[in-house]
């Protein structure tokens, strides 16, 4: 199991479009993905779950990725967050 933290760097935060991008990415993998923020723990493959976090710029999300392809999934998730989902930073 991999546990890591990522920060939201894009100005608009984790709104609908980035949330959709994120769950499309996590759903590709067999590994289970859980995200935790402010005591709320949600399934990282659920769009409603990810949007519920309402993660604003500067906030930190704790990821927990567990499964056969956890390494690849982890790398891709970190890249996605660092790139700010291709949005203005």
């Amino acid at each position: 199991m991999k546990e890591f933290e990522v920060s939201v760097v894009n100005r608009a935060g984790l709104h609908t479009r980035p949330a959709a991008t994120l769950v499309k990415l996590t759903s590709k993998y067999k590994s289970n993905v859980f995200i935790e923020k402010d005591g709320m723990r949600i399934n990282g493959k659920s769009i409603i779950g990810v949007m519920t976090l309402a993660a604003e710029i500067g906030s930190t999300l704790l990821f927990e990725v567990d499964g056969p392809d956890e390494t690849e999934a982890t790398n891709e998730i970190i890249n996605l967050f660092e790139s700010g989902f291709g949005e203005p930073i």
Partner: protein, 336 residues
């Protein structure tokens, strides 16, 4: 999957939160002390503290001032009254709740303001007020978890569907809604243990009754199916764990043994349900609910059947034909 649930407990609530309790509290001190933090669900009546004995005074509790305290204060002259009241507000008291619609003297209200203590007043009598406040604060400080699943009210039975992503929880919920059952929460379910004996479930304020259907996107169940299709809270009674059919899976065949899951110290009946194409989970969910109701009202089908079987086995002394075992002894002649 229930072992890694993170149990969260509020450490503090603001005094302002009390205003949303069913007590209908009126603020007597303006904004003073509304931001004070309550850290205990216990209540305290400050009788001895008013009289001057402040050792062991649990000042960080919400203080409830009833007739006894108010009559005592009234019996004092101005200076001694101020002194007595200062005995309690000189501590970090979060707020004082005055019951029975009693009025405190103006000078005491000023002292409370100066010490940044909120004075809240209710028309309810002390016993009722204490009972309502206790329930409210217990709920505020109760442990809770968030869990991934769909939570439905099926024939009045609270059923939580869990299972991996994409297994079809939301679709089952939607099918149940279509059949007249009510959605409590989809995807993120918050479970609270506020009584010690039961778990209450609700959704998040942001999501409410929106849900995602794969391939469609986000829909609003409340708008689409109307107010009768939803509810805000329900007691959790059964967990239905959905999983892809596994021929080696250990699924109950008789229903005699009951599985349960412990969440925050409360045992919840749990049904492991294999799914495969052509299996109508919605109807099975309804049957699970009805069977639970039968059991709750004293009828356990598997036990009754077992008893009938045992009686039949015990009665079998001589060989009988299998036709002797029919429900009816002979078919009537009307051929119906």
């Amino acid at each position: 999957m229930y072992n890694n649930l993170k149990v969260i407990r509020k450490k503090e609530v603001q005094v302002e939160t009390l205003l949303s309790s069913p007590l209908n509290l009126q603020v007597k001190t303006g904004d003073s002390g509304l931001g004070n933090l309550i850290t205990e669900s216990n209540l305290h009546r400050p009788q001895l503290a008013l009289a001057g004995f402040t050792e062991l005074f649990t000042y960080n509790n919400v203080q409830v001032v009833g007739n006894t305290e108010v009559y005592y204060l009234r019996s004092l002259d101005l200076e001694r009254r101020k002194k007595a009241f200062e005995n309690i507000v000189k501590f970090d008291v979060p707020c004082i709740v005055i019951t029975n619609g009693n009025q405190l003297h103006d000078e005491l209200i000023e002292i409370a303001k100066d010490n940044n203590t909120a004075l809240l007043s209710t028309d309810k009598d002390t016993t009722t007020a204490i009972s309502i406040l206790s329930v409210f604060l217990n709920d505020q400080f109760s442990p809770h978890v968030t869990i991934h699943g769909s939570f439905m009210d099926v024939y009045g039975v609270g059923i939580l569907f869990t299972g991996g992503s994409g297994i079809g929880k939301s679709e089952i919920a939607l099918d149940l809604v279509e059949r007249g059952h009510r959605l409590v929460a989809d995807d993120i379910v918050i479970l609270n243990n506020n009584s010690g004996t039961a778990l209450m479930g609700t959704g998040t304020n942001l999501v409410q009754h929106f849900m995602e259907i794969r391939g469609l996107g986000i829909i609003d169940v409340r708008r689409m199916f109307g107010i009768r299709s939803i509810r805000f809270q329900k007691r959790l009674e059964i967990i239905v764990e959905l999983e892809v059919w596994d021929s080696n899976g250990d699924y109950t065949r008789t229903g005699l043994e009951e599985n349960s899951t412990k969440i925050m110290g409360v045992d919840i009946t749990t049904v492991k349900l294999p799914i495969f194409p052509g299996k109508n989970i919605t109807v099975i969910a309804e049957v699970i609910a009805l069977n639970y109701l039968l059991k709750t009202y004293g009828y356990n089908a598997s036990e009754v059947f077992t008893q009938k079987l045992n009686e039949t086995i015990m009665k079998k002394t001589k060989n009988k034909n299998f036709t002797d075992e029919r429900i009816i002894n002979y078919f009537q002649g009307d051929l119906e």
